[in-house]
């Protein structure tokens, strides 16, 4: 029952973020608790809206039943940002989440889909070295005071409570959307950094030429 009820959370958050984004686009920033409550209510109705005998949220779950906790945290962060103007996941935590998404995705998907004889997905059932590795990663991030550690704590809490349909720890940590967004965010950051380095170098060269001509 708890798994079924929890399956509505992500679709509800997505609906809320979408409505908030529409409000931002029509120049009505959705700040404030009352407005957020109202939009949350509308999103809830949308998620529960029956289409062809099934709530809209369950139609989304039919496509993918296991939206990972980091993706849930990103959606929650966006909704919180729209509502309050502040972020739960700061820049440091966002970077950690994108790096985690890329690393976990690259470690999991190619091999899980048939590359080689080893399937890392099997490590997510029962107990394996994946669990101590996650414990260590969480503790290191906590010592670095990185808020992404709280998301990792939420992952293991969700796993212990069996909040997702999956009984595999990997599904609490990553999903294809989260990995895609992580790869896109890091690639975008890399391109911007390379572009900035290139323009800085051009500027330096220009200054050097100017100095040479005045000398």
């Amino acid at each position: 029952m708890i798994t079924f009820a929890f399956s509505f959370v992500f679709p509800w958050l997505v609906a809320l973020v979408m409505i908030q984004s529409i409000a931002v686009n029509v120049k009505k920033p959705p700040h404030g608790w009352r407005l957020t409550l109202l939009l949350g209510l509308i999103s809830g109705i949308l998620a529960l809206l029956p289409v062809g005998g099934l709530p809209l949220a369950r139609r989304l779950i039919g496509m993918n039943a296991n939206f990972s906790f980091p993706l849930l945290a990103i959606a929650f962060n966006k909704a919180w940002e729209h509502a309050t103007g502040s972020r739960v996941l700061d820049a440091k935590a966002s970077t950690a989440s994108w790096m985690f998404g890329c690393a976990a995705g690259l470690a999991l998907y190619p091999m899980a889909l048939g590359l080689g004889d080893f399937d890392p997905y099997t490590l997510g059932w029962g107990f394996s070295w994946l669990f101590p590795v996650l414990t260590m990663a969480t503790i290191v991030l906590l010592l670095m005071k990185n808020r992404f550690a709280l998301v990792l704590i939420a992952c293991i809490l969700g796993y212990d409570l069996n909040l997702l349909e999956s009984t595999n720890l990997w599904d609490y940590l990553v999903d294809p959307f989260f990995v895609f967004f992580s790869l896109a965010a890091l690639t975008n950051r890399l391109i911007r950094r390379l572009g900035k380095a290139h323009s800085d170098r051009k500027g330096m060269d220009g200054m050097g030429r100017e100095r040479a001509s005045t000398g």
């Binding site: 779950i61 993918n64 999991l108 399937d119 704590i153 212990d160």
Partner: protein
Amino acid sequence: MSKRAVLVAILLTLVLHAVPWWRWYSCGDREPPRFALRQPHSPSDRGLPQMTEEFITRDTGSRMVHVGSICEMTDSRLVACWYGGTREGAKDTAIYLALRDPGTLSSWSEPRVVVDRDSASRELRRYVKKVGNPLMFVDTRNRLWLIYVSIAVGGWSGSSLNVKVSDDGGKRWTPSTRLTLSPLFNVSELVRNNPVQMSDGSLAVPMYHEFLGKFPEILWIKFDGGDFRFRKTRMAGGRSFIQPSVVVRGPRGAAVFFRSCSHERAVGMATTADAGTTWSDPQHLELPNPDAALNALALSGGRILLAFNDSSRGRENLQLALSSDGGITWQDVARIEEGNGEEFSYPYMIRGSDRRIHLVYTWHRLRIKHVVFNEAWINVELRGALR
């Protein structure tokens, strides 16, 4: 975060991570189980040769049926299962079941629907476009299991596995439970061949993945206290072998035969010596395989019987072959079916409590055929083939 908050969070992390460890430690299944061997077969079958043929389904002329499986309950009733509809992948496909009481005079009951897209959608509480590829079997507690695929988007590669169990011979079933077995949208996991009973009461169900890679796997599943506990392991990676058929040869030893989907159109084979934990690298045998399902069965004296399409091009025949050396070399036993441009596919065999062998297969995609024979018949056919 203050130092105190960090300390509390670290403690919380350790406690939360101790839960899965404790669950794993306390469930006591850290030691891999062995294969549960069935009653030993006598070295030879002294009965008279027997071979009978019948159809389980009626000829409707237009409705497609496919992927049959058969099992025997403790009261000797046979249960057959398959899927059918107006065409493969049509929205009206449903999983059917028929029963046959023991005794030669009885016939198969009228097929009845176990699950269709509407009931699957209701039970799984999500959109289901179609259902298909069922596998039915009985466990040691006489519970009837049904594992079937449901598809929400796309074709067979978009399929996910679901399971139902019945305590009363298929009258009432538990609601379908979705098994999450793949990290990529949980798609492309399918079952085909006979499960193996394990010593701890769990079942090892041969399965396969066919999305980007095409490879064989084993689903380890147990139904206890209304909950399914499961995991899977891989038999081999790559893009060459699917639809494993496992033949147990000892408490820890087994051979597995694969449908080949590589350019090398030949049956694949691998072995295990640790009850399915690890498998040898698959090798191609000299038996042809037109990228079609096959099924293997253990006979007396360590012999293995294989039902397969004896062609590298199509499914126009159905052949039985026998191996006396663990699957390395094979002798033809009998051609069960043959016909130009026709289809005989997806064989599935079991050994009944009366030691007879039951073979079901798809006949022209229009009917499910049931052939019954004993080892004496195999021996006679083998002698005939050798002459």
